[in-house]
Symmetry: C2
Subunit: 217 residues, 2 copies
Amino acid sequence: MPQPVSQRATVKRIPKRGVYDRATIDRILDEGLICHVGFSADDQTFVLPTIHVRVGDNVYLHGSPASRLLQALAEGAAACLTVTLVDGLVLARSAMHHSMNYRSVVLFGTATVVEDRAEKWNALRALTEHLIPGRWADIRVPTEQELRQTLVLAIPIHEASAKVRSGPPLDDEPDYDLPAWAGVIPLRLAASDPVSDPRLRRGIEPPAYAANYSGPR
Amino acid sequence: MPQPVSQRATVKRIPKRGVYDRATIDRILDEGLICHVGFSADDQTFVLPTIHVRVGDNVYLHGSPASRLLQALAEGAAACLTVTLVDGLVLARSAMHHSMNYRSVVLFGTATVVEDRAEKWNALRALTEHLIPGRWADIRVPTEQELRQTLVLAIPIHEASAKVRSGPPLDDEPDYDLPAWAGVIPLRLAASDPVSDPRLRRGIEPPAYAANYSGPR
């Protein structure tokens, strides 16, 4: 069984929920619509949401060079990138044993600025295709100027851990006799019917990937 | 219009998306199922997911005294607590203008350990009722020992900001002539039918708050 590569990437609380294999880590990163990135600057910790995509052994972030988050990471701030998927609410017979079913990944690392044009292009395409599989073929791709105006960062997936809880509640033995209902309420991200832009040209219907959206690839 | 109370609580990137009124901030905190809390320890930033509840002017967290997150906050680490609600994917005509509709809150502060028994009890009840409105009346409430074994922390809602994007894509003017579909795919958290604990006593049906779960209160 894969082991953690460092102290900081070791699940401390409820160690049996810690998972260190890349397949599990990649699946969670790939299923996450957003991540939360933490960094410190001027003695203050910031946690900001952003979108990400995994390509091979890297997680890519992108945005404006004016972004405080991207600036700090580009300058070498030690980052912590966390993706959390909530799979369900776990209703136990006692208040104490209520829980959530979830899958999370915590990734530690330092970002590098992607300068290579091909890698940058691929990262931007992957970001779009990660969120909306099939979209890239239908849209105007970035101009050279837009490409220059976009900062793309890569964080290597080296020091990462996953934490997973699944299954029914675990109650104290005497509590199983209580008359309370117990079990799991499964939760998922769901899409509603797409809403066309009021300025959409007449006669353009939502494509299948929007009409039947089922989450990141 | 309410203004930010500090530099660090000021939305820097796309300032027009910054919102500083407590009603908006409270609504986002109340609708969030989980938050991500960041803190620094030993020159490393950590971002960990946990559940929270707002009661009045405080956000409460809870957990085991063995939790690395709670220990660090209890020792006075400067915390950043972020709640992000993803409302939709914004599909523009150019790659560059794709976006998300979202509502997020970033709260800066230092936690205090809740020692008062009544406040602690109320916070634990509020945590359960926030996630599953109606649940508290059906379950075994904490014993004195369980109460002692649970650490409850309060972070005051003093330095907070919200950031909100809503509405259709905003494309570059010439791109409105392109034949691509554009609009929003609305997203929400959805519950499926509750799954009873395999050890549930016979004849106990899921209560309405589980069968028709519609998110935090």
